[in-house]
Amino acid sequence: MKTLNLKKYLTLTRMGIIESLQFRIGTFVMIIGNLLYLTLVYFLWKAIFASSGTDRVNGMTFYDTLVYLVLATALYGFMEMYTVWEIGRNIQSGKIVLDLLKPIKYKSYLFWSYSGELLRNFICVFLPTFLVVCIVTHGAVPLGINLLFFIVSVIMGVIISYNIDYIVGTICLFTESIWGINIMRQVIVLLLSGATIPIAFFPEPFKSAVFFLPFQAVYNTPLMILLDPAPSLQTTGRMLALQLIWCLVMTVVSNLFWRVSLRQITVNGG
């Protein structure tokens, strides 16, 4: 029964959009919270650059850093899926049993249920920030073919991020607690993906090590593609290829881990 029925999934997207629009205040609070965080980022890095004495730290000017971080925050605001919470809550409440009894894979069910919100966040969080950054900086963001690559890269970033979340969520099947695990995941992803500190700032052996992990492919790669002042097809291509590899690896790993865990659970009960 391998019929590719797209309608099944798009309905979930539709539901997600309607549902997320139900909570208007939530949307506004999210935008305000985002602005507050950006203000904090602005002053923090301004202080860092002021105290360094030069206008270039690690090859990045204050402006570069700020643009990078503002966009990283916007990207984070749009891509963070709270999958782990969802899985954890479903496990604790037992609702997961009902979801497992749908003729649709749990992983797809969850992803597509969330996709509506993803779309909303893209429009309400990322797009406005992006436009503001473009207008305010006039030209810090090169506009051209890189936008297309950026979008491809963001989609792959979402897939990688979702798979990381899904693996962590699967661990909840065993621990039945969510909070600690999720905080740990959040910190690791935020730090190693470049969402809080540009990866260019990392000290050397650490920096190279980070490039061998999937996390930087979530936020850093799309941003590098977007912000590269002198893009060459070769470097972009290499980055996208690496991302694609991570996409495939993480998908396979998370599917496998889920299947093995689920078998474990169905054998031992939970």
């Binding site: 029964m1 309905t11 309607i18 003729p103 078998r263 009960g269």
Partner: protein
Amino acid sequence: MEPVIKIRDLTKEFKVLNHREGLKGSMMDLFSRDYKTVRAVDHISMDVEEGEIVGYLGPNGAGKSTTIKMMTGVLQPSSGEILVGGTIPYKNRSRNAQGIGVVFGQRSQLWWALPLIESFRLLKDIYQIPDEKYNEMLELYQSLVNIKPLLHKPVRQMSLGQRTLSDILAAFLHDPKIVYLDEPTIGLDVSMKSKIRTLIQALNEKKHTTVILTTHDMGDVDALCRRIVIIDHGKLLYDDDISNLKTLFGSYRTLKIRTGGDLASKAREIEKMFPEFAVKDDEEWISVLVDEERAKVMKVLHELEETMTIKDMQLEEIATEDVIRKIYERK
């Protein structure tokens, strides 16, 4: 005809960590490998025919939910055989899912923030229900219970009764062969209970859906099930027609009397006179559960009248509830 559900020697064992007490014990538990095996379901066999409503009963923790989880394919049996509609549920969970509907007590599968109709539309697409079947079903629902006012109401604003009703309708929406209802009437008021019973009955008749119903409410059983299956400690205690149940334990009747004076002390007296019968008392009545094979009710009443003045009396047929309690307690 081939049964829809075929279960042979079904057993499910769980490994449970032996928890120790206190702070030190909890710390040690972190590294403990001291497991004990708990047998939740113990060699159960039964067949369920198409279109039956089977009441699946047992005290809390008897293994009912575990059995249902195995039937739906969420749990894998430790041993034994289980066939639902000719397939092994845990091996073909997706395929099995298409043919079943589930309602688990207070958990809802509906989208909390959205009007009911959106959840229905989603189910329509997930189960790939054709338009005409879907509309047919909605019309049927409309004729059975008035769902129009519910359809556009967000689920979170519904009362518990309305939500349960909606959940049951959602479970039947894709016209499944089997529907599992796990305590569907829990926490509902009398009129809602009866509404839900009527609905289940009607859907069972119209769609010929097999229904497996677990409940603690004997009203549900009396209203819906012709056949009941009782399990306790994972073992099958009873599997037969509900009408045979009452004769199984002889013909019991409850004699209720009201006397003057202190009811409790009178009850003790009666207990001494008839040690073979269960005697209970509340503020108003003393009730004696009389086994008619041992002594006729009239004879008991006669003897009682000689020792005390009886102001009032009632005679009650035994309720299913009492019989089932007797089965539970027999162990």
